[in-house]
């Protein structure tokens, strides 16, 4: 019992301490720019968590981040670093937008799941390219997923500007989705939020209670031991990339079907990249992803208010997130706390 408590304390204390230190560093930078850091943080957090509407906005912003965080986390569990959540998310967003406006006259009970499925399928398709290259050619997933991000962004831009373009207007974007594909709100909250929570719980169950999860975990901890135990490394790599890609695709689909209502290249910017921060802050725990995403979603949602009221550039959030990431992953805090180090370890090198 005592051990269990200590483990829990450690998984919580490191992220919290990282947040604190990142905010202290951030306040120095805000002060350097001539603004009052305490006031800026106060505006940021009262806007994000201080009112019902604020919390609703925060949860709406957190929804795609929970999903993209899961997309990164599930791959981290398998020892893969999926930097490509962004590309998978955009692929899913475009595919679901297409399904949303192309099919006319479907009842919403069919249309919404269909559009989500399109998102999941095309998200996982992008991830599959990286998974196959990793499994069969030993190409490191970090490079392929980054390159795929750029390819998907360019391809989506082309598709939205030519074949899928909304006719008779100058903007590069797809037509609006049908009403039957729109994900409704529930209790003033976007329904997508509940979908995201449900998927987190499913992943938690998958990792804790199923042989699939056990295989992923084993390969993630020690590839050779897993291989020796008879687990197919190739299959685990491909299936976890597929799972991650599908989740990122759903992230894009949920965002499209409940918030944006169509695909536009400028939408979805950074959602997949924030997923990396979410996953590492949650130490790749499927349930830990939820609070991490809510925190980051809140900061993202309130950044423009902070700029308006406290005069701090909204990019401070990017910087804060980078600092959080640094302190969460670097073992300096663990050393300060004199705890045993247990960093996340991936397969380094280009051919394993």
């Amino acid at each position: 019992m005592a051990i269990l408590q200590r483990v829990k304390l450690q998984t919580l204390s490191i992220p919290l301490l990282s947040l604190l230190i990142a905010f202290i560093f951030g306040s120095l930078l805000i002060a350097m720019q001539g603004s009052n850091p305490l006031f800026a943080y106060q505006v940021l957090f009262t806007k994000a968590f201080g009112s019902i509407e604020g919390i609703a906005t925060t949860l709406a912003k957190a929804t795609p981040l929970i999903l993209s965080g899961l997309a990164v986390a599930i791959c981290l569990r398998a020892g893969l670093f999926n930097i490509g959540a962004q590309g998978q998310l955009i692929s899913g967003a475009l595919a679901s937008a297409w399904a949303g406006y192309s099919f006319v006259g479907l009842p919403f009970l069919i249309h919404i799941p269909l559009a989500l499925l399109f998102g999941a399928f095309f998200g996982s398709f992008v991830a599959l390219v990286a998974g196959l290259l990793k499994a069969y050619r030993g190409v490191h997933e970090v490079i392929t997923t980054i390159m795929l991000n750029s390819i998907v962004i360019a391809l989506a831009d082309y598709l939205a500007s030519t074949p899928f373009k909304e006719p008779d207007q100058p903007i590069t974007r797809t037509p609006k989705i049908e009403e039957s594909a729109r994900i409704p709100d529930l209790f003033g909250l976007p329904f997508g939020f509940f979908i995201a929570i449900a998927i987190s719980v499913v992943f938690w169950w998958l990792m804790r209670r199923t042989t699939t999860g056990f295989r992923i975990e084993t390969i993630g901890r020690n590839r050779n031991a897993g291989w020796y135990a008879g687990i197919s490394v190739k299959r685990v790599i491909i299936s976890s990339m597929l799972l991650g890609g599908a989740t990122a695709g759903i992230a894009g689909a949920v965002e499209t079907l409940s918030i944006t209502g169509r695909f536009e290249p400028a939408f979805n910017a950074g959602l997949g990249f924030d997923g990396i921060t979410v996953a590492l802050l949650a130490r790749a725990n499927p349930l830990g992803v939820i609070p991490a995403a809510i925190l980051i979603g809140g900061m993202r949602g309130a950044a423009s208010t902070m700029q308006f009221r406290a005069g701090v550039a909204p990019e401070i959030v990017d910087l804060l997130l980078a600092l959080i990431l640094f302190f969460v992953t670097a073992p300096i805090l663990l050393r300060l706390l004199k705890r045993k180090e247990e960093g996340i370890s991936l397969s380094s090198g280009w051919s394993n």
């Binding site: 190409v139 970090v142 992953t329 670097a330 280009w350 051919s351």
Partner: protein
């Protein structure tokens, strides 16, 4: 086999060049000329990878190193109205990033992939937070007309009239090849990358050599970033490096962790981009702009898919060095 293939590539590219040159000399020279500014930042960034990985440190943070260095080089060059000062500051920024990576990967023994990705994310965060519009550098580094070589027919117009960083960079690449294969430093570096405990037994300080190499590599990354901001483009924007640091890793692998191999691979990349641009200008092919943007990324993946299984990376790459306890 390996040698025959490279000879084949060299001979066939000379023949191709001769054919196109006989068809249209002006356009052919200008295409090869513009391939060099496309290739140089990739080649320099690949040198960062070669230097780090040959001593056993995977550096996936090249992109971030270039981005931050381009940022400091550009803005301090603009504020001080002195591009040479900007260049110096850009290189020093690279040194700092190299030191940070060293501390994370060598002293703290962090996962090297995560360390690199964090450098990239921090670089993007810092540069986008501090970015300001309406800054201008007084001028870019101007092209140098090389006196004798510039007058040689055919080759002269291609190799002359590049900027100073370009020439320095090319000299550096050849110098690195010599240093890596013909000097004690190179032998030690390679042995540390292949079998650090043997190197340690032979009296090489693994930690010190890794620190030195990763830090110098950081300076080279700083040079690559400064080149983009101060010589090639003359501006800075958010996300300015556009994945070049990752393409460079593919180039490094394609070049078999050899400086000259990587330089050749970078030239191939640069040439493919220059040719595509020319085809677009001549309207020979009607490709949407987005597909042109995609080209280097698709090539990167293709090259990795072809070469990754066939080449052997330094054996100790990615593994933190633990001194054996007696």
């Amino acid at each position: 086999m390996r040698f025959r293939l490279s000879y084949f590539v060299i001979v066939s590219s000379i023949l191709l060049f001769a054919y196109f040159y006989s068809q249209n000399s002006i356009v052919t020279s200008s295409v090869v000329f513009t391939a060099i500014p496309f290739a140089l930042p990739l080649a320099l960034a690949a040198m960062v990878g070669v230097m780090c990985e040959r001593t056993g440190i995977v550096n996936i943070g090249i992109e971030g190193t270039m981005l931050v260095s381009a940022f400091t080089a550009f803005f301090l060059g603009a504020i001080l109205k002195n591009i040479s000062a900007g260049l110096f500051i850009g290189i020093m920024t690279g040194v700092l990033v190299g030191l940070l990576l060293s501390v994370m990967t060598i002293t703290w023994k962090m996962d090297q992939i995560i360390a690199g990705v964090i450098i990239n994310i921090m670089a993007a965060g810092i540069t986008s937070f501090l970015y300001r519009q309406n800054y201008r550098i007084p001028s870019t580094f101007l092209p140098i007309d090389i006196p004798v070589i510039g007058d040689i027919p055919v080759i002269g117009p291609i190799v002359s009239n590049h900027g100073p960083i370009t020439y320095f960079g090319i000299i550096f690449i050849f110098g690195l090849w010599v240093a890596l294969y013909k000097t004690p430093w190179g032998l030690r570096s390679r042995s540390v990358g292949e079998h650090p405990s043997s190197a340690d037994t032979a009296g090489v300080s693994v930690v010190r050599l890794r620190y030195i190499n990763v830090t110098i590599a950081g300076a080279v990354g700083g040079l690559a970033g400064s080149y983009l901001a101060l010589e090639a483009v003359g501006i800075f924007e958010r996300g300015f490096t556009a994945g070049k640091g990752f393409t460079a890793l593919a180039i490094m692998i394609f070049g078999r962790w050899n400086p000259l191999g990587a330089f050749a691979a970078a030239l191939f990349f640069g040439l493919s981009q220059a040719v595509t641009n020319q085809l677009m200008i001549d309207e020979v092919v009607q490709i949407p702009q987005q597909f042109v943007t995609m080209l280097p990324y698709v090539l990167t993946i293709l090259i990795l898919a072809i070469s990754a299984g066939k080449v052997r990376p330094p054996a100790a790459e990615g593994i933190p060095y633990e001194k054996e306890k007696v």
